[in-house]
Amino acid sequence: MVEDVEDIVISTLSRFLIPFMQAFSLYVFAHGHGSPGGGFQGGCIMAAAFILIVIAYDFKEAKRRFSEKALLIYCCVGVFIFVGTGWLCILLGSNFLDYSILSKVLPADPVKARYYGIAMIELGVQITVMAIMLSIFLDLVTKGEHEEGLK
């Protein structure tokens, strides 16, 4: 288990740092279309912010913010957004992952619809990567002895 020692410098600094990290992660994600970045990178930074909570405070504090079940649901929802976008394209009558068909439901022309389609799947990647990275980290660092336990 992570030791339950609180250091004033570390906890204050990380309290200060974490919101910025999360905001930066969203920036990296949102600017993936025009500058280096994207879902994977953003998700990693977001996971790092939560990992900082675990390191700076203790494990219970992190658990209070992110329960195990919530993490699992985030994992599944992220991948589901990705694959669901692909399915939506099939349902709208085109091939799998052909975002241009999304122009039927989005107020955009086919080219712009691809832009939004990419944004959607990047969102899915972001959520999955964040949740999975955090989940792997928590599992490894606690050797699986979570307080709550996934029944």
Binding site: C75, V111, R114, K151
Partner: protein, 92 residues
């Protein structure tokens, strides 16, 4: 014994790798095949076809979006494997 086997396999692999490099294009050659066959279309038309200026995002999300889907599935698989191996049931 294990070390000898390792050294032998490394010599064989190394010889193969060096032999393979023989006919490679030069580093950073603008006329290497990798820069001439498929990628020019991505560079020249990605902006018109997907409206995304970052070419990596365009290729990642759209042209080869299917790879990316499985990339996400790979990491999902890894997460589930770690969960399955390490997690224990609730104690109470």
């Amino acid at each position: 014994m294990k070390k000898i086997l390792a050294v032998i396999s490394i010599i064989i692999t190394g010889a193969l790798l060096v032999y393979g490099v023989k006919d490679f294009p030069k580093w950073a050659d603008p006329n290497q095949p990798a820069s001439l066959h498929v990628s020019p279309r991505y560079i020249e038309h990605a902006l018109d076809e997907t409206a995304v200026p970052n070419l990596v995002t365009a290729v990642l999300g759209d042209y080869r979006g299917y790879d990316t889907m499985f990339e996400t599935a790979v990491i999902f698989t890894a997460g589930i494997v770690v969960m399955m191996l390490l997690r224990r049931p609730r104690k109470w």
